[in-house]
């Protein structure tokens, strides 16, 4: 039946709470209000305010409180209201959530889920549209997951709550209310598996979260230009599925990585580096990246300029040296000009 990612996430939380009373859901406005995006709608009414509750307005407090609750044997799922508002919790996340298991040789674990509504495309004002996944992906000890489909939203969140390790669960805001047919109670692929969303022969588009629909749209549009593009949905950034990704690129010989975040030192850089490292001899062209600009998120009037859209993806595909000529943009002359 048709449902939205927001409803799927809500159902995943409800099913997880029903399945395991150790699961607690808390954060800012998640109780009576049901969250500013209504992801926790109805949970307090159904499970009571000891299982789903509002906290004082302090993100380091919320994450640190979750760490303590986990030490007592509970399984907290916390909501950061928006991406940039998780930054106050950065020390708790990087120095404790990510490291506690290791520092105690597994005597203590932190099976918590930190839900982060992220990225743009919703006309939000400043600080409400950051793509912060790279900060977490670069922090050993964290798992970083981001769904692109309604099915995955449900399944990956259930998976994240069951997982023995801390999971930063990145929710693409702009996909919250896109609806699709989904059978919520089923599980999809486990953590660590990327999925080929669309098979193709000529080139591989690698994307995650909010960029997956863009990649699929671009692949559709590319058919007119005679390109048959494969689309890989990364799903879990950490752990990363080298196997699926490299298999695809070795088959197609060309690759474009798409991410909404500012490009410099982002997850797309890691993917591009890994792919060329592992598929070098299969590549007919450099692995190209299409990403957000290296500027603060320009919400909302100019976000369309910032966001990697179908056209920008197709431009990149066009630069995959189908004629096996070097990319003119990178000829010394061109650079000198810039």
């Amino acid at each position: 039946m048709a449902t939205t990612m927001a409803k799927a996430l809500n159902a995943a939380l409800a099913d997880a709470m029903a399945a395991d009373e150790r699961v607690l859901v808390f954060g800012e406005d998640v109780g009576q209000l049901g969250g500013v995006f209504r992801i926790t709608d109805g949970l307090q009414a159904r499970f009571g305010d000891k299982r789903c509750f509002d906290t004082p307005l302090a993100e380091a407090g919320i994450v640190g409180f979750a760490v303590g609750l986990a030490m007592s044997g509970l399984r907290p799922v916390v909501e950061m209201q928006f991406d940039a508002f998780a930054y106050p919790a950065f020390e708790q996340i990087a120095s404790h959530v990510a490291k506690l298991r290791n520092r105690t040789r597994g005597a203590l674990s932190v099976p918590i889920v930190i839900r982060v509504p992220y990225a743009g495309g919703i006309g939000g004002v400043e600080h409400h549209c950051d793509s912060s996944e790279a900060y977490y992906a670069h922090t050993p000890g964290l798992k970083v997951v981001t769904p692109a489909t309604v099915d995955d939203a449900y399944s990956l969140l259930r998976e994240a709550i069951d997982d023995p390790d801390p999971v930063v669960f990145m929710e693409p805001k702009k996909l919250y209310f896109a609806s699709a047919d989904a059978d919520l109670s089923t599980r999809t692929e486990p953590f660590g598996r990327a999925v080929v969303r669309r098979p193709g022969r000529d080139a591989t588009l690698i994307a995650y979260g909010p960029s997956v629909p863009v990649a699929l749209e671009a692949a559709e549009a590319a058919r007119e230009e005679g390109w048959d593009l494969e689309v890989v949905d990364v799903r879990t950034i950490v752990p990363f599925d080298d196997e699926t990704v490299t298999a695809s690129v070795r088959r197609t010989g060309r690759c474009v990585v798409i991410q909404e975040a500012q490009g410099f030192a982002g997850v797309g850089a890691e993917i591009a580096a890994r792919v060329q490292e592992r598929c070098f001899h299969a590549l007919h062209a450099p692995v190209l990246r299409v990403s957000g600009l290296d500027i603060p998120y320009p919400a909302p009037m100019l976000e369309h300029t910032h966001l990697p859209g179908v056209d920008r993806v197709l431009d990149a595909v066009a630069r995959l040296q189908w004629d096996d000529q070097p990319d003119p943009r990178w000829l010394p002359a061109a650079e000198a000009a810039a």
Binding site: E28, D29, G34, P56, A60, V125, E126, D294, A299, T305
Partner: protein, 388 residues
């Protein structure tokens, strides 16, 4: 549910005396156990229970005028969201005494650190309403010139401005200027670590900052009881060695009196001062919020009876300082102000995509120059297609 501030409920005549122990170091720092109030909800002056001098009457008339204009502006801004002219607007209707009173307590040379809630305060300070609404309108910058207006950009990351205010105030004093910084903050944001760090820095460095907490009893949907177990937020001051006061935030005369003294305290070199105003947000958190999910109409109605504008108008009329003509004149001014905002907001703002690269750094990096070229090329291509 009763809606008067807890401290007021608890108050008894005896409760109003300061702790009697003269040697207790906390004594001079503790707030009065009951919020300072000079007018009762009907605007009738209360028997002076504090030593706060009443502000000059012409100042009170100006306060009235700006509150009326401010509220009209606020209502207009909310209306503009319905017409899609604003991306979002956080209303401060009901908090006029705080929004305007604070701006009358500071000088033009003082610095103000507003949050997203303070649009009314900023227009009361004389900033161009269109500039104030620029960000909420969907542009990527704050609209006004913060340096020229000595007004920081409206701050969204909660409580972070508390630290900036400490640094700015200390820096001004360090350079021999007698600037005071007034930092707005909400009740919910006092739970953030940056409130703690900011007021503590100000206290340790004796920086001239007034921390003004508008306790409107909610952080979006979360009630005050989830932010603190303290008798009142003003009691946080003593833990930093900062004197504090609580005030009835819907009593314009009291708010102006208390903030005026707080600003004097800071300017005189005595360090920061903490003021908590007990008030109420009459509108939802923003136009996007549905307040019926977390509070009932009765609560809102009870606060309607404490309307700060009604209160001040009644008081000034009783004193013969305000008559029908004056009230009508102010109302007319407010209408004209709103009409001007409405009209100027009709023009769709034009934004140049290439301007995105201008202020990330003083000079764009080679990487940004490359990216700007790419966007320029895309725009050119799009134009050609348009023509073709």
């Amino acid at each position: 549910m009763t809606t008067t501030p807890r401290a007021v409920r608890r108050a008894s005549p005896r409760a109003r005396r300061r702790p009697a122990n003269p040697a207790d170091p906390a004594r001079p720092l503790l707030p009065d156990a009951e919020p300072v109030s000079l007018l009762d909800p009907t605007g009738t002056p209360l028997p002076a229970r504090t030593d706060y001098p009443e502000p000059a009457v012409d100042l009170l008339r100006e306060l009235y005028r700006r509150m009326v204009v401010g509220r009209r502006f606020d209502i207009q801004a909310t209306a503009l969201t319905k017409q899609g002219r604003l991306a979002v607007y956080p209303s401060s209707r009901g908090q006029e005494a705080c929004q305007v009173g604070a701006m009358l307590a500071v000088r033009d040379t003082d610095w103000v650190f507003p949050t997203y809630r303070e649009s009314m305060a900023l227009v009361s300070r004389g900033l161009d309403p269109i500039e104030v609404l620029t960000l909420l309108r969907g542009d990527w910058h704050c609209g006004y010139d913060p340096a020229a207006r000595r007004t920081a950009p409206q701050c969204t990351p909660l409580a972070t401005q508390c630290v900036h205010a400490a640094g700015l105030a200390y820096g001004e004093a360090h350079q021999g200027r007698d600037t005071v910084a007034l930092a707005f903050i909400g009740d919910g944001a006092t739970s953030e670590g940056d409130f703690h760090e900011g007021i503590n820095f100000a206290a340790v460095f004796k920086a001239p900052v007034v921390y003004f907490v508008q306790n409107n009893r909610y952080a979006i949907s979360v009630p005050l009881s989830r932010q603190t177990a303290a008798p009142s937020l003003a009691y946080k001051g003593v833990g930093y060695g900062v004197p504090s006061e609580q005030v009835d935030g819907n009593d314009p005369v009291a708010v102006l009196a208390v903030l005026t003294r707080a600003v004097e305290h800071a300017r005189a070199g005595n360090g920061p001062f903490l003021v908590e105003a007990h008030t109420y947000r009459m509108e939802p958190h923003t136009n996007a919020d549905d307040a019926t999910r977390y509070r009932d109409g009765a609560e809102v109605d009870a606060w309607r009876d404490r309307d700060p504008i009604v209160r001040l108008e009644k008081y000034l009329r009783d004193r013969g300082e305000l008559d029908d003509d004056a009230v009508a004149a102010v109302a007319a001014e407010a209408e004209a102000y709103a009409a001007d905002v409405r009209e100027r907001m009709n023009a769709q703002p034009t934004v140049d995509p290439l301007s995105l690269f201008d202020h990330v750094y003083a000079q764009p990096t080679p990487q940004l120059i490359e990216q700007r070229e790419q966007i320029r090329a895309e725009l050119a291509a799009a134009e050609q297609e348009g023509e073709a």
